[in-house]
Structure formats: structure tokens, C-alpha cells
């Protein structure tokens, strides 16, 4: 396993980007904007 192998590098960076995207998603959903969405949905259902 050569760490300078471009293919492995690309694979590593791709996985790192996926994981950081995931972390950003978690960050954004921790803001409670969805509370109102639930409310609106709840009222629409009524």
C-alpha cells in the first residue's frame, strides 16, 4: 500500500468528503427549523 498512490489518495479524499458532508448535515439539522415544518405539516393534516 503506497500512500502516494493517486488512486488510494483519491479514495481517501472521497471518503473524507462524504464524512464531512455528513457532519455538516448533522450540524444544520441541529438548528430547529424543522420544528415549524412539523407544525405546518400538523396543521395541514388537520
Amino acid at each position: 500500500m503506497n500512500p502516494h498512490d493517486p488512486q488510494l489518495r483519491r479514495k481517501n479524499i472521497r471518503l473524507a468528503l462524504i464524512l464531512s458532508g455528513f457532519a455538516l448535515l448533522v450540524l444544520i439539522t441541529s438548528f430547529p427549523f424543522w420544528q415549524n415544518i412539523f407544525q405546518i405539516l400538523g396543521e395541514a393534516a388537520k
Binding site: 500500500m1 500512500p3 502516494h4 488510494l8 479514495k11 481517501n12 479524499i13 471518503l15 473524507a16 464524512l19 464531512s20 455528513f22 457532519a23 455538516l24 448533522v26 450540524l27 444544520i28 441541529s30 438548528f31 430547529p32
Partner: protein, 536 residues
Amino acid sequence: MSHTSTLHDVPHHHANPTGWRRWLFSTNHKDIGTLYLLFALAMLFMGGASAMLIRAELFQPGIQLLDPDLYNNLVTNHALLMIFGSVMPAAAGLANWMIPLMIGAPDMALPRMNNLSFWILPAAGTMLILSFVVPFFPGGGSQINTGWTLYPPLSIQVGMSMDFLIFAIHLLGISSVLASINIIVTLLNMRAPGMTLMKMPIFCWTWLVTAFLLILVVPVLAGGVTMLLFDRHFGTSFFDAAGGGDPVLFQHLFWFFGHPEVYVLLLPSIGVLSHVIPTFARKPLFGYKSMVGAMIAVGTIGMVVWAHHQYTIGMSLGAVSYFMIGTIIISIPVGLMIFNFIATMWRGAMSFETPMLFAVAIILMFTFGGLSGVMLAVVPADMQYHDSMFVVAHFHYVLMPGAVFGLFAGVFYWLPKWTGHMYDERLGKIFFWINVTGFNLTFFPQHFLGLAGMPRRIIDYNVMFTEFNVISSIGAMIFGFSHLLLLYIVIKTIRGGEPAPSRVWEGARGLEWEVASPPPFHTWETPPPIRQEQSA
């Protein structure tokens, strides 16, 4: 690529960098691991100093040494320094040092990001320390008095020190998310050919689970404190009931982070034990697969039980019942890990070098802390125990053995590998006995104090609590100062001592024992062949 960047003045393969450049520009997992460990050690002493000041004040009823604001400040910074400054960086240091060696990889997957993850820490640590000291400067505002949980509305009212703290938490969060990403990528992509996931050493497994937990929960803490910042300065009212917000939302966000965080602190040390116990029992680890299953179960269930920290906020009966049952269920996989450790020792040819002494002590004391945890999980009981010294006793019995002593065990276990010198076994044992005795003297009496009704985070107390507080404070001084001996042992080992062979402990198995002690600057540039007995 870029010829201009100074990073490239440090060639990867030709000469090894020296001087300050070696450390500042380091992309070498061993050097970065060392930096993490040194940072953690420095923070351990700062956090320990706060703790000893707290206990000095609590030696007698009445207010003797500290003013109440400073006391609250110390209670807050003690926890933050220990958790974010000491235990997490120390565990990351072990990960950096050992994971590439254990899986036969030449380095971490993203070495330059690794450099960034570490070098954010001194900046974050500075911000953290500033948040405790700015109030002492003119115009510095009030001291942080919220405890590490930072609950609003109090945290909205604190002066600018809270903004420093929020910024510090952002930096710490970025650092640990980057480090976690690096660890996951390394473990998934860089294993030597033939090392399947189920052959991976358990320490690597514990870090895989830990890293996933971190990227799942640290952003939530970051979001929570960001909203706090907005409420403080930008006129929002996320947590302000007067503006249509809800202060309890912060508690949910905080503990959604905070509970998994305790497993973040615990799991790497469980990983260390999974190597120390087989080594000194001279038997393979009992139940490798169940160990992996148990830690995944702990991580998963641990994500959904956070509100056991908030039983008293007035949740519905359904909600508290759910959180109570979920919390109690976690004790099953945790118990399984303990069972596996005991089964590993069963009929083993045991010897009790310092790491093993810590391991055995951990099993006993951590289990004890787990039992008081089950008491706290029971809703009606917790209505009594909540916010009392019983809670303080509980989490120190789980955190100190479960996290800190596990890290100590790892340091003694791998120090000869890192430095090439054996540590002084006699001093190691003396340190163990003083440390563990001091720990129990400090925290055991706090159970009784809590049950008798002494609240936590309070500078003064009723005279009827005096005796146990005196014992606890004496214990804390013994415990706190004993770490100077640890420092001495570590320095002594770095500077010299009996040379260590590559397989430092006769019972040790795994790839990390096949490289010299200390390992050369670059290891496993060609991946090692994986034999059966190397796994686990």
C-alpha cells in the same frame, strides 16, 4: 504539486525533519501522536489544579479560600479542561500512535489534515483558558458560572467570557471532527491487505465506533452553542421563552452530545484494556466478536438515551419511561465487555505489571460506577439524587477508571514502545497504589454526601456534611499530587532506562510489536503479511 509551500521543504522520504519544523509541520503520525499526548498531559495538570482548589475550598464548611464566582468558574473549567483538553486529546494521541502501527499502514490516511487537527488544539486551548481569565481584566465581564453544561438562561447572561468559551468549543469541535474523519478513513482504507475488519485489533474497533460517535454528535454541540451565541448577540430567541423559544431545547441538544460523549471518553480506554488484559493474562481476548457487537450496541443505544440527564424537567410519563428503560438496557452490552475481560483473565497465567494493575482496578471500580449509574437511571430515585454529590461520585467512578486510568494503562503499556526504554516498574507500581487509593478516598465519601442531600456545584455546605468532605479533600490532595510521580516516571523513561525489545511484553500480540522500540520514523512502508495470530 505546489513547490512554493514550505510544507514541501520537509521531504517525505529523504531526510527526517529536525528542530521546530519537525513538530510544527509534522505529517508523521508518531510525532503528531506525541504532540497530542503532551498537550493532554499539560491540560491534565491545569484541570487538576482547578479540581484541587475546589476540594481545598470544600475542606471545611463556610467560605474560606475562593469567592463564589471563582468557585463556579473553577467547577466549569475543571470539567472542560479535563474532557476536551485532556481525555479526548490523550485518546487521539494513542490513536495516532497506534492505529497505523496496528493495521500495518505507513501513516494516517490524510497526514496533512492530521497536522491541522492537532494544531487547532493549542489555539482552542488558549481560547478556553482565556474564557476563564478574561473576567479578571478590566471590562472583562462576569465569570462563567454555568458549569460545563452551559444551560441558558444563565449562559445568556454571562459576560464576554462565554463568547470566548463558545469559540473555543467551535475550534475543539472542528479539531475532533477532522481527527475522527481521518481515523475512519485510515481504518477503512489503509489496512494491510489481508487484515479484514473482523481481524482488526480491538483498539482500532473502539476508535472506529468512537470516531463515528464524534461526527454524529459534536456538530450538534456546535449548533447548540452557535444558537447560544445568536441568542446572546443577534437578537434571536432559540432558548428564550419570552421570544417564543425554549430553554429546554438547549438541554436536549447539549445532552444529545453529552451522553454519547461519555462513551467517546470510555471506548478508547476499553480498547486499551482489550490489549492489556490478554497480554498480561497470556491468553487471547475472550469473545472478540461479542466485544465488537457490544461496542456497536453501546454506541447505537447511547445515541438515544440522552434525556436521563433531564428527568426533572417535567417530561411525559411515556418519555421518562422510555429514557429509563433505554438507559438500563445499555448496561447489558457494557456488562458483556466486563464479562469478556474477566473471562480473558480466567485461568490465565497472569502477572501484574503496572498496566495490568490498572486494568484490574478499572474492572472493579468502573463496575462500581456503572452500578451507581443504574441507580441514577431509575426515574423516581433520580428525582432525589439529581444535582447532588452522588452524581459527582458516579461520574468520577466511571470517568476516572473508565477513561483516565485506561489511558494511564495505555501509556505504561506502550511507553517502552514509544521511547525504546522500559519505565521504572517499581515507581509505576507505587504510582498505581497512591493514585488509586487517593481516587477512592476522594470520591467514595461523595456517595454518602449525595445521599444525605449535599448538592453539587455549591461552595458552602451544612456542617453535618463536614466529616466526609474532609476525607474527600484529603484524598484529593493525595490523588492530585500523585500525578507529579507520573510526570517524573514519564520524563525518566524518555531520558533513559533499560532498552526495550521490540516485543516489550512476552504475552503481547499484534503488528505494533514487530517494529523496533522506538519505531523508526517511517514504518510499514511495505505492508506486512497478516498471519492468523496477529489478529485480535
